[in-house]
Symmetry: C2
Subunit: 240 residues, 2 copies
């Protein structure tokens, strides 16, 4: 969409199991989509081939500092809209969103508490933060319904998660589904499972107890990503 | 929800074919739901029986002046948020929403153009306005997917549609589905078919041509109603 607004051609490498609505929307906004096998190796190879073929500039979806900074503007807007915010919960996959939001939020509000939210089945960020070193992908990562969070932290996003994010909390698939169902039935907003992970953490007894203990009453949750195929939605909303 | 906030017991008569999520949400907000056959006669009988049994006050969903006024506050909020608005498109079934919005909008902005939006299969408001007298329900009314708009205008809502609403425009089932699909895939908002009828009118070539001819550039569309069972959603979003 940004490329289209500037009249710049865009080529997007997308796993072939991405939601059909995501691919359709990407193409409708004017991009060329190159499908690939849903592995990091296939994705990198397809991106390298596209760069070679088009002479374009490679833009990583999470580890590029400009992408991180751009995603961080979301936290600035949220803090502007809700100045009373004391905590922020942001899903973590590649870490672009959470690291950008953390730098932006703490730059303007140093005391703000930031929680990264991760599926327990893809808990590399939690393990990386606990170990103080980049951990490999969880062997169960492909099994989470939060497909946008299956990727791992990168060399630019990890240091921010390690040093600036206050904690990483994990939630189960059942909790992710319940959060998605709540947002669908009450807010009437379609969010993809990855976007529901932050809501699930915010609603979890452990997070609520910790927030209560810290006197935190105003919690912001970043809900980002609404690509759900209509045919898949009912399945996601089931309890398990 | 309003009754719960005031601690007043509420009994809601609901057609037995209403979406399951609608009934579940109503009960979760604290109301008792009485299901009935999906006909006006059955609904009125069930409501009368509930009033007799509980000693409660009957509240009509559209023809009650207080309900109409309450629904009109929606137009006030919209005009406050978007002062540049030149036209308003509001779905019409029983007419509570459109009459309330029209009175409120024209009271503060006399020159605002108001279009009532109706499914062609349930076009009693269009026929009533054309005839200058209350028309009976269309024989095809039960066939529209916009189940919230199958009802007809009442003695309090009709005069406002007749005298203050500028026009009634009808759309096809295909147009309603396309509007619902657009809102789902791009705005990521779940709206029920009845709520999509206003979007469908606003996007229709006939409305757009009329708006262009009148120099109208800022059109507000009231989107109201998000009760869609997840299992039914994909079917609604299909082209026909």
């Amino acid at each position: 969409m940004a490329a289209g607004a500037r009249g710049v051609p865009a080529t997007i490498v997308m796993p072939q199991d991405a939601p059909g609505v995501k691919r359709a929307a990407t193409e409708a906004y004017g991009a060329s989509v190159i499908p690939c096998e849903p592995t990091s190796a296939a994705r990198e190879a397809a991106a390298a081939a596209a760069v070679a073929a088009t002479g374009g500039r490679f833009v990583h979806p999470s580890n590029d500092p400009a992408v991180m900074a751009g995603q961080g503007t979301l936290a600035l807007e949220l803090l502007e809209a809700v100045p009373a915010l004391q905590a922020l919960v942001v899903p973590v996959g590649g870490g672009g969103l959470v690291s950008g939001c953390t730098v932006a939020a703490k730059g303007t509000r140093p005391g703000l508490w930031v929680t990264a939210a991760e599926p327990a089945l893809a808990d590399d960020a939690a393990r990386s933060k606990a170990a103080g070193a980049l951990a490999p992908a969880a062997p169960t990562a492909a099994a989470t319904i939060a497909d946008g969070l299956r990727t791992t932290l990168g060399p630019n996003t990890f240091p921010i998660v390690r040093d600036l994010v206050d904690e990483v909390r994990c939630v189960s698939e059942v909790e992710i589904r319940a959060a998605m169902r709540l947002v669908y039935t009450r807010l009437k907003v379609v969010i993809e499972p990855s976007a529901a992970v932050g809501v699930a953490v915010a609603l979890s007894p452990a997070f609520r107890a910790a927030a209560d203990a810290a006197g935190i009453q105003h919690v912001g949750v970043v809900i980002c990503g609404g690509n759900v195929d209509p045919d898949a939605l009912a399945g996601f909303l089931r309890a398990e």
